[in-house]
Symmetry: C2
Subunit: 210 residues, 2 copies
DNA sequence: CAACTATGCAAACGATCGGTCGTTAATGTA
DNA sequence: TACATTAACGACCGATCGTTTGCATAGTTG
């Protein structure tokens, strides 16, 4: 029972396939990715997928979950090392930019691609993607509110407004840096948020100067 | 000659097809759009397209051009009614937001969808899209520089930096407002740019208060 | 007028799409 | 040993993809 080699092997196959799926989907999209190409990329057969998932949509939903966990571990996690407040808020932004700069995913960002792909078509995938996005924005907003509670940001800061701005400046890095040769999008996204936060911060020495 | 009945009819067919193509591509993407569905949506036949274009890529390139003209006429054009300087810069941002709010395209923004779709795959379409995007950013940047030259923005403003921020705050409206129910993305994008400009403007009375 | 050109469609092409079916091999349980 | 379950595969399905071919027709040109 506990030592079922079959289930273990299946679980590892699933993980390997999902990792590839997320990686490929960051480039071609979750729907643009075809089962045939995914099979070729993982060295398995198309029909073998149906031993693990009922159909393409099920695989897509699992891929969203996999990408969410990756974002949680590689973006949100590291930022927790910074002390709560404005420093953690900025660390979160920098962590995202590092995720992009390191080229963890060949397409830059799974969620950016998938959001643009699904923002107009109804369905379970869209709903789940929207939920993950809302979670992320609310998490950023909570960091803002915590910074305000700690008096590290001005008391009249609109948390929803500020978190929208931070997310916008971070999201667009993907397309700017990939589409425009020699774009300094990463530098600009970092500086924009940094200066914005310093202007709102009673003690700017909490943040780097530049 | 210039008013050849055949060419006139063909030209009108092309325009009608391209308008539909841009509209549909704002939802499903330029590559996600299939010739079969485009034919059904325009009431023509798939094979009829090859009387006007050599293949799908040619049609895609023409669609990009059509969308560029639409953006020029419906976004850039109206902003020219505002006096040059910081007011025209803000009018440009508001004009874009109005384009989104009016729902001119069912997917919100052709270029947002297409940029996300092509930012990772090489080819003629990607190159042209990148060129149009660069043109747009440089146009915004020129408005910033003009405002500085008119002393309507502080002299030490980094034009490239500021135009990146304005574009980012505008772009993300598309996905935020469509994916998150009840999102105030339009309001936030407007306020973010307005307050940023007012803070940099020696005479804030040039701009609305809120 | 005849010759030519642009427009447009129906039918069909090979390729690929997501998905089904039946089977085999491996691993478990009784 | 006998049986059940899971993983994985090859072959194949109907649908759709972008594209080609052949043909009919309307408009232009000599």
């Amino acid at each position: 029972m506990t030592h079922d080699g079959r289930r273990l092997r299946g679980s590892r196959s699933r993980e390997a396939i999902l990792e590839r799926a997320v990686s490929l989907a960051s480039v071609e999209g979750l729907d643009g990715l075809s089962l045939g190409r995914l099979a070729a990329a993982t060295g398995t057969s198309k029909s073998g997928f149906f031993a693990h998932w009922n159909g393409k949509e099920q695989l897509q939903l699992d891929a969203v979950e996999w990408a969410r966990r990756q974002w949680s571990e590689q973006v949100v996690g590291p930022a927790l090392r910074a002390p709560a407040g404005v420093r953690r808020l900025f660390a979160l932004h920098e962590s995202r930019l590092r995720f992009y700069a390191d080229g963890v995913l060949p397409g830059g960002c799974f969620f950016f691609t998938v959001q643009a792909e699904f923002d107009d078509r109804p369905g379970a995938v869209r709903d789940r993607v929207a939920e993950v996005m809302r979670e992320w924005l609310e998490y950023v907003q909570r960091q803002v509110e915590q910074a305000v509670a700690l008096s590290e940001l001005a008391a009249d800061v609109d948390a929803a407004q500020l978190s929208y701005e931070i997310d916008a400046l971070g999201q667009v890095v993907v397309v700017h840096s990939r589409l425009l040769a020699g774009s300094d999008a990463l530098v600009r996204a970092r500086r924009a948020v940094l200066q914005r936060l310093r202007a709102l911060c009673p003690d700017p020495s909490l943040l780097p100067e530049d």
